[in-house]
Amino acid sequence: MEFLKTIQTSRFLLSLNVLLSITYFVCVVAVFPIGNVPLFVVLVLSEVFHVWQVFGFIHTVWARKRIKQFDARFQPHVAVFITVCGEPADIIESTVIAAKKMKYPHFSIYILNDGKVASRPNWQEAEEIAARQGVNCITRTVPGGAKAGNINHATAQTREPYIVVFDADHAPKKEFLQETVGYFVDEKVAFVQSPQFYHNADVNQVAGGSWEQQALFFGPLLKGKDTVNSTFMCGTNMVLRRIALEEAGGMSEKSIAEDFLTSLLIHEKKWKSVYVDKVLAEGLAPEDFLSYYKQQFRWARGSLEILFSYNPLFRRGLTFAQKIQYLSSSSYYLSGIIVLINALLPLTYFFLQLKPLTINTMTLALIFLPYIFVILYTLQMTSNFTYTFRALSFSLGSSTIYIKALWATITRRQNAFAVTSKTRVSGNHGKLVFPHLMYIALVAAGIIYGVMREGWSASMLSNIAWAMIYIAAFAPFIAAAFEGTRKAPKAKKIEAHA
């Protein structure tokens, strides 16, 4: 898999990133003449975030080596949990069949059926599948704790010292256990995570964009985190040591990003984590915009909750590197507000003629262009050329989702855990990109207003160009939202891996 190939990026290039971002930051903060003060303050805050993101990224991908113990002969008994909450029967059954085919001497399969407590009409199908396939089914009757509650419930009813978790749509490969359990020979390893891989990425724009975003995370980012013992659980395709899970109080039910928070709590107890950079299971990316929207919201909300309620900086037990890594991951979703700030700057010029800096646009270019070009080049290098414009578009476009999640976090609004739909939710999801369409309309109006005021001045042109960049960057995201109105190719059916 291309996204998992290790590309040794030179430390010179990585250091250059830091140097250029700091240079740019210093110029913005201390060298360039200040224009409108409130806008300047907002700009500086956004630049602080950018520098932090660059620093976090460089810290993650900085080449380090970690020696991990592995013994293929270590083959303890394993409980395989397949979490189910009303997914289509064929998807669940495919995963069960794939799990049964895993090459490993001692394991039991459990379907963790939450369909009943979630009032899914098809909840009994999971039990039927279990009977048909000769595996266990644990159906919850008392709700609570969402997916984490489901796992905790099953953990209490089983005894195996190691637990594997698969989402209903993530079919394992036969070598999954052979490639992961051996790491537990190191008694300090609490969990082993393997990548999520979406095999339906080419089905449509949503699935493709979603996967391309994930490829960066499951490629260079998690591989980098692994070198500083900061891999966190990603909800599926993971193996846990029961004792470590219990020591952390089970899967945390306090957050909708239960995997992320539980990882933090486990690391706090000085346990180790391992990332196996091999595709050992294949799943499904969200195929419709609404599902994608909900998934992103859940991740953003969960991560921001951790930032505000469990700020990694102040957690005892984490190493310095782990603090940086957890902070970097949880703060990523603040980017929504940063994108908003940056996208609004051209509008403040169009309508109010306000600029945060009064610097000559060419001088700004002289400092900014090397900075952005080197970052993009590094991003391409480290991701082994798997990061795409569409992934960037989805990240920038998702800013509205992240802002909504930030608002929900700040106001402590309750959000239910929503399982990402495994089937396409039909319909036009254009209303979800209304803010983006509004932005385009405002830019159009702003250009007319600004040009009528001052003609095609250098500042107008630069601001128009900036606005166009955002519009171009939002375009694939917007197009994906309207994809439901077009006839999309039929999704591939998950196949059990023989």
């Binding site: 993009l376 050329f385 160009a465």
Partner: protein, 499 residues
């Protein structure tokens, strides 16, 4: 490559060459002689020692001038003939850009598009028809870099020898060639593991030193002449805007300030173009791209930094060494885009260049245009034997003299005797009145031709405006204006034959 494809490549290259020749012969070659060209002609229209002496006093090195000297001996001493030498190097640059890009990046389509960008570049077309060394410098650059890439790929003493030889020729073409070598040296440091040969760093130091030492005789010669500079225009410290102007000029040519502002202000579009290059691909970035990026950036940035910190010598034409590498990079980056984006960006780019090429040709306000030809024709028609033509800056007398066959006396202000050794006298406000009177008092009308402002043209004009009656004013090209002043009101003395 199949014969069909080979023929297709030759046909396309032939069409590019035809394009360059057509516009050179029919358009650019017929424009007015410019100051720099007048200097080239002035310097090369004498014996070789005399020519070398003049070039040494200038800011240049003598290879181009020597070639031009013999070129004119063979083909004639007309400005059009002199310009054709630049056209030869322009064509050479087109071909070598194709060869270099194709060899380095392994795709003919990249080579062809890069060569096409060179062909339609208004900047290259302009200097492809200017009797100066700039297209020769571009040609030497691509030729030299070709051997550098060969060294990278195959090593070998022969390649190093050719690299050294072309480095010597390049260094004798223009001092700025040293930035090409600097870029190569940095490339080698960055990519040394990619070089096939043994000890490439040691080799580049040895062969580079040989090339550098070859310039020593010339430098000693210049040093013995005291670094005199009697024709060098004064240059201002460049700004960040000039830096971007340089790249804008490479691609879009010389445009009027309004258009130029539009072009460079849209720089954020570059960020979008970089975004488009983010694509999932198994095509790795060839190491040679590092070379082309450094070649496109290092010379410009180095000249900029030195000009800002030490001494201003930043001129976009000196930086033509960066142009082929820039176009090769542009041609390559398009291959990183999704096909439809690549096609769209490519077509839009070519269309914009085409339009601006036309604007550069047709607009009388194109900044680099120096219409001395029309200005002199105007003087010949309107200035009589009882008039005087005063030129500022003084060195503009070269292009004026080339065309001028009128009856009015030509003089300069500050007053300069070119046939005395030494530099152009500096402007002295204290001498303004005295020199003006010495220039114009005996004449009925003074025709003040101002161009190549060295910082005092306004003082001159203000003085003339205040002390004489301005009769007319005529602008010929950006920065070239003739003002007519009535200096005497008595009837001119009529000389009769006494019969």
């Amino acid at each position: 490559m199949s014969i069909k494809r080979r023929i297709a490549v030759y046909v396309l290259l032939g069409l590019m060459i035809a394009f360059a020749i057509f516009f050179s012969v029919t358009v650019f070659g017929k424009t007015s002689l410019r100051l720099d060209e007048a200097q080239s002609l002035f310097q090369t229209n004498r014996d070789v020692p005399g020519m070398l002496n003049l070039v040494a006093q200038d800011v240049h090195v003598p290879f181009y001038h020597t070639l031009l000297h013999f070129w004119q001996l063979l083909l004639g001493q007309d400005i059009f003939v002199a310009r054709m030498l630049s056209l030869v190097f322009f064509i050479g640059t087109i071909i070598m850009t194709y060869v270099l890009a194709t060899y380095a990046l392994g795709r003919r389509s990249i080579g062809l598009f890069a060569a096409f960008l060179v062909t339609i570049s208004p900047f290259m077309n302009w200097y492809g028809s200017e009797a100066r060394m700039y297209t020769m410098l571009a040609f030497m650059t691509v030729l030299h870099v070709y051997f550098f890439v060969r060294i990278m790929r195959t090593g070998g003493t022969n390649n190093w020898l050719f690299w050294t030889l072309t480095a010597i020729m390049g260094l004798y073409t223009h001092y700025f060639f040293v930035f090409v070598m600097l870029s190569e040296f940095i490339t080698l440091l960055v990519l040394k593991k990619r070089f096939v040969g043994k000890r490439p760093i040691r080799s580049i130091i040895i062969y580079g030193a040989i090339a550098g030492l070859s310039l020593l005789p010339w430098l000693l010669y210049v040093y013995n002449l005291g670094f005199a500079s009697n024709t060098q225009p004064s240059l201002g410290t460049p700004s960040a805007g000039d830096l971007f102007d340089t790249y804008a000029q490479f691609i879009f040519g010389f445009q009027v300030p309004a258009v130029n502002t539009l072009i460079v202000s849209l720089w954020p579009v570059l960020v979008l173009l970089a975004f488009f290059a983010l694509q999932r691909t198994k095509k790795k970035i060839p190491p040679e791209i590092t070379l082309f990026v450094l070649l496109a950036v290092i010379p410009v940035l180095s000249a900029f930094i030195i000009s800002v910190t030490i001494r201003p010598f930043y001129l976009s034409r000196y930086l033509i060494v960066a142009l082929p590498a820039l176009f090769i990079f542009m041609a390559w980056i398009l291959t990183r885009y999704r096909p439809w984006i690549s096609r769209t960006v490519g077509v839009v780019l070519v269309l914009i260049v085409g339009v601006l090429f036309t604007v550069q040709v047709l607009s009388p306000n194109t900044p680099v245009k120096e219409d001395y030809k029309d200005a002199v024709q105007y003087l010949e028609k309107n200035a009589g034997p009882s008039d005087v033509v005063v030129l500022a800056a003084p060195f503009t007398i070269y292009p004026v003299e080339y065309y001028y066959k009128g009856t009015a006396k030509l003089t300069t202000q500050p007053i300069w005797n070119r046939f005395e050794s030494g530099s152009v006298p500096a402007f002295d406000p204290a001498k303004l009145e005295q020199e003006t009177k010495a220039n114009v008092d005996s004449y009925q009308n003074a025709w003040l031709m101002l161009s190549y402002d060295q910082g005092y043209n306004k003082d001159l004009k203000d003085y003339y405006d205040k002390h004489y009656q301005k009769v007319s004013e005529h602008k010929f090209s950006p920065g070239l204006t003739i003002y007519e002043y009535k200096t005497r009101y008595d009837e001119p003395l009529k000389v009769t034959d006494g019969s």
